[in-house]
């Protein structure tokens, strides 16, 4: 039988929809949440609890819900969805969670029978031993049983981010937020209102507490206000958007659900994460009702009083026609009035306050309507099979009475919703009048309005807003609010009722989500966890996804009573973002999959694709790693082929990623002498030089080739990944250490595409491409360069090589790069010119003994360690790192030094990263540290020498040349016997280089 409908409710449509819950179909209305739809069908049992698998129902009507978490099957299998928030739509398919085989018969509920052993700290006490159990038994078992729902599979979120910059952000479009917005209409402030619901109004739509505003009924007033806001030029509204995070500098994060009440479209973005930067934040996010702990306060059918009223007023569903109301405050009379208006009547009204403290108006109303009234009484507990069937009342005479009822509505008072305020680092203080914490001192530009500031009196609201927003110089508003209830809030302190325990399995819960009982709190304190932060972690109290929204203050109340302290002295735990669960997909936004990291491509990229390049990521660059000749060719085969061909005829590398910096000014020469180790003074114009850059610690930072145009104009190349770092290093020294030098720098990395062509036939090929240039050794010797005009663009060719072969580096405008690349291939065809990738580049340079920064070096290597003494301008007065090179540690001879290594048995291969040792064998079990001399920094199979060649950094390497040592292997204890040699394996006389 369907539940009674409140036909006066304006906020729910008459359009019927079909929903499915646990395989059964039900009718609901468009606008229903899953919870209101299920209540409409008298479904009370929604799920099973986290630890004890106890039956659970719907406890609240909003984001604070600890129980009613469900799995949505027909979206992306979304688990842990709050039934009290998620809007139902035609065809939505919902499953209950954490139960097997069914919701009503759940094997896991055996945990409830065993619950006496699952007390606070169970995990910490139980999983200590025996040794080995953790890995093999406990952890796999816990992993299998952990969690509630099932994670989504094969779902690619398309959630996006949207940034906002505004003057004022109003969090909450309820009564306070709307009054504040009306005050700001058509002012100079850009205002954004963020409302978690799909419509404005908040408490105005959730209860019948307010009768009229400015003589209009609340529905009209909300409509009028929304129209005024939409007409204004300075205020925007974001609905269905929940502010989850309040960071420093007034930066707030809010999550918008774009598919409220409809099935998501997987081709569109389903969520928007709003990142809001504001000058002023107005928090008007209201309050949250808290519960009261009593025996079996978790049974389906127990629902907070204001939530019950919200279902009536906002969703037009009356969950029960004769509930029991249990309160410690004056607010619940509003629910009674809502029920009476619908010809329903509570079967009991239990008020823990003394009779004299209860408002006369309430007493008269209850009496007039013949509602059984229990002043100075409390609910001892309730019982029933998977639902409330009996409620036990401890009356004024301390006698227990039982009444039959199917719903029980407790109200333990209200907590100002201070989560966001405390996230902003605002300080809170205890208020004895409302018996809760409320905002005290703001840390940022934050204003709290209405119930979040602890003001529960509607008639004072306008004054509060006028006063707190007076600095904005907007006109004062005078809004008359007429209420249906007495406006002065009254409450007495009640956290837990006295229990006459009737069964071992009766429990009085303090945290419904994590199944923490009040007994657990007491036990934790007895065990010494009397600090609130320790106690929270030991018991997991308020650590669920609801973050204890309805119960955390209650736990403080109970703890304070046990410790005999005031709540203010016990303090609060820290409220951390997010306010409500936020999916990782929303946080990641579009920075996933193809947009995980920005990609950089060279102008030749598409040619590489067409020619079967396999790419590797070098920073953000996509660089060809190697080119596959055919599908069956392996990487090893491709690299061996490319290397061999380059040394036999010619190969070409796309080196566009190389960093390039233009340096110019009257003091450019002095600057270059200071920033690099090399001496540039005697260097001839239009020549180039391999150069090293050190950090102030004397360690190698970067390398490159310097082209000297004249004493006032240089072009430096850098490593591909080091380009931005080198430019900012240069700028920093120019601006901070040497401001007297007149030097300017421009990055020209992207302005020139770079090709490196090398091999014995390189000259012949390039001469055919650039017919006007004389490439002979005499006219174009090694380490010189020429600038020329190519199709009306600037171009430069430098004779240099990173392979040890005759080589040229071509710098060309990106506009003509692809054309030129193809031209080179056109003329190179007869010489079997081969494109090669970075792996071959590394192999070729290793054969020649050239180092790679960050492969042979690691931030602890000096030029002397690499035998680069020749690169240090010893006569120079100063350069960065010079003083550090004379320190005893950097000058000592037993530092790790660069050597070459070859296996004695030439058929063996040495792996990179392996240790170099003096021992032939390693013990099968290493019990004491084994001294090692260094490590293999590079290792390749040389196709030109037909054996493995390696480079290594080893202690006193220079003295060990010619000696036999050993290199470890990834597997086994037998090391590879090797000979220490010079790191230059090919052409040590440089005949090829200068040919």
């Amino acid at each position: 039988m369907p539940a009674l409908r409140n036909k006066n409710c304006n906020y729910i449509s008459n359009k019927e929809i079909k929903i499915t819950f646990d395989g059964k179909s039900y009718s609901a209305y468009e606008g229903d949440t899953i919870a209101s739809a299920l209540l409409r069908n008298n479904i009370r049992l929604i799920g099973r609890s986290f630890k004890y698998h106890r039956p659970r129902g719907i406890y609240t009507c909003g984001i604070e819900e600890p129980n009613a978490l469900v799995q949505i099957l027909n979206e992306h299998n979304e688990p842990n969805t709050r039934a009290t928030v998620k809007r139902a739509y035609e065809g939505i398919n919902i499953n209950s969670q954490n139960r097997w085989p069914s919701l009503s018969f759940d094997i896991g509920s055996i945990n409830n029978i065993l619950s006496p052993i699952f007390s606070a700290g169970f995990y910490y006490k139980t999983f200590m031993g025996p040794k080995g159990f953790w890995k093999k038994i406990y952890e796999p078992l816990i992993r299998r049983t952990a969690g509630l729902g099932k994670p989504p599979k094969n779902f690619r979120s398309k959630s996006i981010h949207q940034n906002h910059n505004v003057d004022i952000l109003i969090v909450g479009g309820g009564l306070s937020g709307l009054i504040a917005a009306r005050k700001l209409i058509n002012t100079d402030n850009e205002v954004l209102i963020v409302e978690q619901d799909s419509f404005l109004g908040g408490i105005l739509k959730n209860s019948n507490k307010i009768k009229k505003i400015d003589g209009k009924n609340v529905f009209e007033w909300i409509q009028e206000t929304e129209k005024l806001i939409l007409k204004s030029k300075n205020i925007k509204i974001l609905k269905n958007t929940l502010v989850t995070t309040y960071n420093f500098t007034n930066h707030l994060i809010a999550l918008e659900d774009k598919y409220v009440g409809k099935n998501i479209d997987i081709n569109k973005s389903e969520l928007t994460l709003h990142k809001i930067r504001t000058t002023q934040t107005i928090l008007a996010n209201g309050h949250i009702e808290r519960f009261i702990s009593f025996r079996n306060n978790d049974l389906p059918g127990v629902m907070l009083a204001s939530s019950f009223e919200k279902y009536i007023e906002r969703y037009g569903v009356v969950p029960d026609e004769k509930p029991v109301i249990f309160t410690n405050n004056s607010s619940t009379i509003s629910l009674v009035k809502s029920l009476i208006n619908l010809n329903c009547k509570p079967c009991a009204y239990i008020d823990s306050r003394k009779k004299k403290d209860i408002e006369d108006e309430t007493k008269e109303y209850l009496s007039k309507n013949n509602i059984p009234f229990y002043p100075e009484s409390e609910v001892e507990g309730c019982e029933g099979n998977k639902k409330v069937e009996k409620v036990y009342i401890r009356n004024i005479n301390n006698k227990i009475l039982s009444i039959s009822a199917s719903m029980l509505c407790p109200s333990g008072g209200f907590n100002p919703d201070i989560h966001l305020f405390t996230q902003s680092k605002g300080l809170v203080k205890w208020d004895d009048k409302i018996i809760s914490f409320k905002p005290d001192t703001a840390f940022q530009k934050t204003i709290t309005l209405g119930s979040v500031s602890g003001n529960y009196e509607f008639k004072n609201l306008c004054n509060e807003i006028n006063k707190k927003l007076s600095f904005l110089k907007a006109n004062d508003l005078n809004i008359d609010i007429e209420t249906n209830i007495r406006d002065d809030f009254s409450i007495n302190e009640l956290w837990e009722t006295k229990t006459d325990k009737m069964s071992k399995w009766s429990k009085s819960f303090i945290d419904l989500h994590n199944d923490v009982t009040t007994k657990d709190l007491k036990q934790a304190i007895n065990e010494g966890y009397d600090r609130i932060e320790h106690l929270k972690r030991y018991t997991t109290n308020s650590m669920g996804t609801d973050q204890g929204k309805i119960s955390s203050i209650n736990s403080l109340g109970i703890v304070s009573k046990i410790l005999n302290k005031k709540i203010a002295e016990v303090g609060t735990t820290t409220y951390r973002p997010p306010y409500a669960p936020l999916s990782f997909a929303a946080i990641a936004g579009r920075s996933t999959y193809e947009y995980y990291d920005p990609e950089r491509k060279t102008p030749i990229h598409n040619w590489h694709i067409k020619n079967n390049a396999v790419f590797e990521d070098v920073g953000q660059w996509k660089r060809p790693w190697y080119f596959k000749k055919n599908d069956s060719e392996t990487m090893h085969q491709a690299v061996q082929r490319e290397s061999k061909q380059t040394r036999q005829t010619a190969g070409i590398l796309d080196g566009s990623t190389l960093g390039k910096i233009e340096i110019k000014g009257k003091d450019a020469l002095e600057f270059m002498n200071l920033i690099y180790t090399n001496a540039f003074t005697k260097m001839k114009p239009m020549t180039s030089r391999y150069a090293l850059m050190l950090g102030e610690d004397g360690m190698i930072m970067d390398d490159g080739i310097i082209c000297k145009i004249n004493d006032k104009h240089f072009i430096a190349t850098t490593t591909s990944s080091g380009a931005p770092k080198v430019l900012s290093h240069m700028e920093e020294f120019l601006q901070t250490e040497w401001p007297h030098l007149q030097v300017y720098l421009n990055s020209i990395t992207e302005q020139f595409t770079t090709f490196n062509i090398s091999g014995p036939k390189a000259r012949e090929i390039i001469s055919k491409v650039f017919t006007d240039i004389d490439f002979s050794n005499e006219k174009f010797p090694f380490m010189t360069f020429k600038s020329f005009n190519y199709k009306n663009t600037q171009a430069r060719i430098m004779r240099a090589s990173f392979t040890g072969e005759l080589g040229y580096e071509i710098y060309i405008s990106p506009k003509h790069a692809l054309h030129l690349w193809e031209q080179i291939f056109h003329y190179g065809k007869e010489f079997n010119l081969v494109p090669y990738g970075t792996e071959t580049m590394h192999l070729l340079r290793a054969e020649k003994g050239y180092v790679v920064i960050s492969q042979e070096t690691d931030g602890t290597v000096t030029p002397l360690d690499l035998n680069f003494n020749w690169m240090i301008g010893k006569k120079k007065k100063d350069f960065i790192g010079k003083r550090s090179l004379t320190r005893s540690d950097t000058a000592r001879e037993d530092r790790k030094q660069l050597v070459g290594i070859v296996p004695i048995d030439k058929s063996q291969f040495i792996e990179e990263g392996q240790h170099v040792l003096e021992r032939e064998n390693l013990p099968s079990k290493i019990k004491t540290p084994i001294e090692y001399l260094g490590h293999i920094s590079s290792s390749y199979h040389s196709p030109n020498l037909n054996h493995c060649i390696s480079m290594a950094m080893i202690k006193s390497g220079n003295k060990l040349k010619g000696k036999k040592l050993f290199v470890s292997t990834p597997k086994g204890t037998k090391n590879i016997a090797v000979e220490i040699v010079s790191p230059v394996f090919i052409d040590p006389e440089n005949k090829r280089l200068v040919s």
Partner: protein, 174 residues
């Protein structure tokens, strides 16, 4: 010119502009040298731009300026201009023409659209007309020039494909 995307609220067009990056000390002599070459005085205030139908001239920082050619110009002339500037020791001019890509963003929702990709405050009171900024858009370094009815955004050419895709993606997923 290539149309990247067009909706009722925003249009993105890629343009083939040319650009020169100039560094110098901003003294009167520097201004005269520049003015002699192109008859525009360099903007004096940081992040200020001077623009006409043919140029955007922006002061990127205390010693750096960008000169964008909005209409087709003889490239040889630009190279000559760079050469002439570089005759002066106190100036470094570099050709940025083909190493950068240029996008024009127009439409009434251009701010909202761009704020999907950048947290930069595009409101006119924080980013007035005739100013520029260097900021991250779609997580890459970009320069953005506010010409009132449109923004011109430039970034390194290596990001061209990625940036185009991100612009289209943002428009599709609005």
């Amino acid at each position: 010119m290539t149309k990247i995307l067009s909706t009722d609220f925003v249009t993105v067009v890629q343009k083939d502009y040319l650009q020169v990056l100039v560094r110098g000390n901003g003294t009167d002599q520097f201004n005269q040298i520049i003015n002699k070459e192109i008859s525009i005085n360099p903007p004096l205030k940081n992040l200020e731009i001077k623009s006409d139908d043919k140029h955007i001239f922006a002061k990127n920082s205390f010693d750096q300026w960008s000169l964008l050619y909005l209409v087709e110009e003889d490239y040889k002339k630009i190279l000559k201009f760079i050469e002439n500037l570089n005759l002066n020791d106190e100036i470094l001019a570099s050709d940025y023409s083909y190493g950068q890509v240029y996008f024009e963003i127009t439409g009434k929702n251009k701010n909202e659209f761009l704020n999907k990709l950048t947290n930069f405050d595009l409101r006119s009171k924080k980013f007035p007309v005739s100013t520029m900024a260097q900021t991250l858009i779609a997580r890459i370094d970009c320069s953005i020039y506010n010409l009132g009815s449109k923004y011109v955004i430039t970034c390194n050419k290596s990001f061209e494909d990625y940036f185009q895709k991100r612009l289209k993606d943002s428009a599709n997923l609005s």
